[in-house]
Symmetry: C2
Subunit: 204 residues, 2 copies
């Protein structure tokens, strides 16, 4: 970690502090290696080598390959690891509402343009799809669905993803009213029960 | 309408039959005029003038401006007017299941690539968004929601759109399994009740 004092010191010396240098180098190397090798082909070791830093720095700064991809390539506004921790705590009977609220809070504050950019990359690049699947579907949704003890956890996870992606499409990309302007509480009341059923209800 | 005999006759004379000529001319003119004027700015009169045909031919071949846009620009695999008629008949208590089944039947048979192309155009072009809103949200969903007599028909319509669009994104664009390969009956059972609630249930 770098402190404000470190950064001041770095500026006085006319260079950036080493921590930020490492992080920037990793982001740049990640973009190159992911583009060249694809999401599954790219390794933490190869990215670190190209950045000229220790592979342990990937875990230190990004929590692993998924986090590096999320920040460097997808430029997601959130750290998937933080989301997973947050959703895993709390009552499973309110998971539907909590996911809707978290999704909207994150993307509303980021601005819809970034969600639209993400959709464009998903529609155009196989790599973005694979990365998102690993980051959100495997890391988040499936662990949530597994926690419920319900059968068909993977199917439930993809159902949850479908409603969240669609809500994002209507609110941020197509901007169909009134959903595009509804306040978050209204959408939590309307869409929360859908996700709750997908996680813990009868779906067959 | 042109008959097979007409078409044979046309070929013998070394030209296409007049009906197909008119339709092709309208499609080409529509693409040009919609691109130039936008969805709302383009008029049936202007498109017919550019095509050199009677404006009544737009209604004859495409059922109006929305249908022409749907076929010429969005290249939708279905005629919105047919869908509206179909959904309006039948029990309102089964509308959720019927919409899911119809949506999947249409796009499964078309192939997912066409849905992906539609999403790309929505994410890139304001015109596609406006056209889709008029074609699907206004023409189909709102009329369905109105028929239920429920309040918040417009909000309900956008909720329905969100789940359908998201299901299409996961099945045809991201291709997350198992939803991408699930049979239609499985998805009707899982997603039908969501749409039914959006149309006729409590959403606040």
């Amino acid at each position: 970690m770098t402190t404000g004092a470190d950064q001041q010191e770095g500026k006085r010396r006319g260079r950036r502090p080493a921590g930020a240098d490492t992080k920037t180098a990793l982001v740049e190397a990640a973009r190159a290696v992911f583009t060249e090798q694809g999401y599954e082909g790219a390794t933490v070791r190869a990215i670190a080598r190209q950045a000229g830093v220790d592979p342990a720095m990937v875990n230190h700064w990004f929590g692993g390959k998924e986090g590096l991809f999320a920040q460097a390539v997808l430029q997601l506004p959130v750290d998937p690891a933080v989301i997973v921790t947050e959703l895993m705590s709390g009552d499973i009977e309110t998971i539907g509402e909590r996911i809707v609220r978290r999704f909207l809070t994150v993307w509303d504050s980021t601005g819809g343009g970034q969600f639209a950019a993400l959709v464009r990359s998903v529609a155009s690049h196989e790599m973005a799809v694979t990365g998102l699947r690993d980051i959100f579907l495997k890391q988040i949704f499936i662990r949530v669905a597994d926690k419920t003890g319900a059968d068909n956890a993977m199917f439930r996870a993809t159902l949850v993803a479908s409603q969240l992606i669609g809500m994002g499409m209507v609110r941020y990309v197509a901007r169909f009213e009134p959903l595009a302007s509804n306040d978050i509480d209204t959408l939590v009341a309307a869409v929360g029960p859908t996700l709750q059923r997908y996680f813990t209800g009868t779906i067959t």
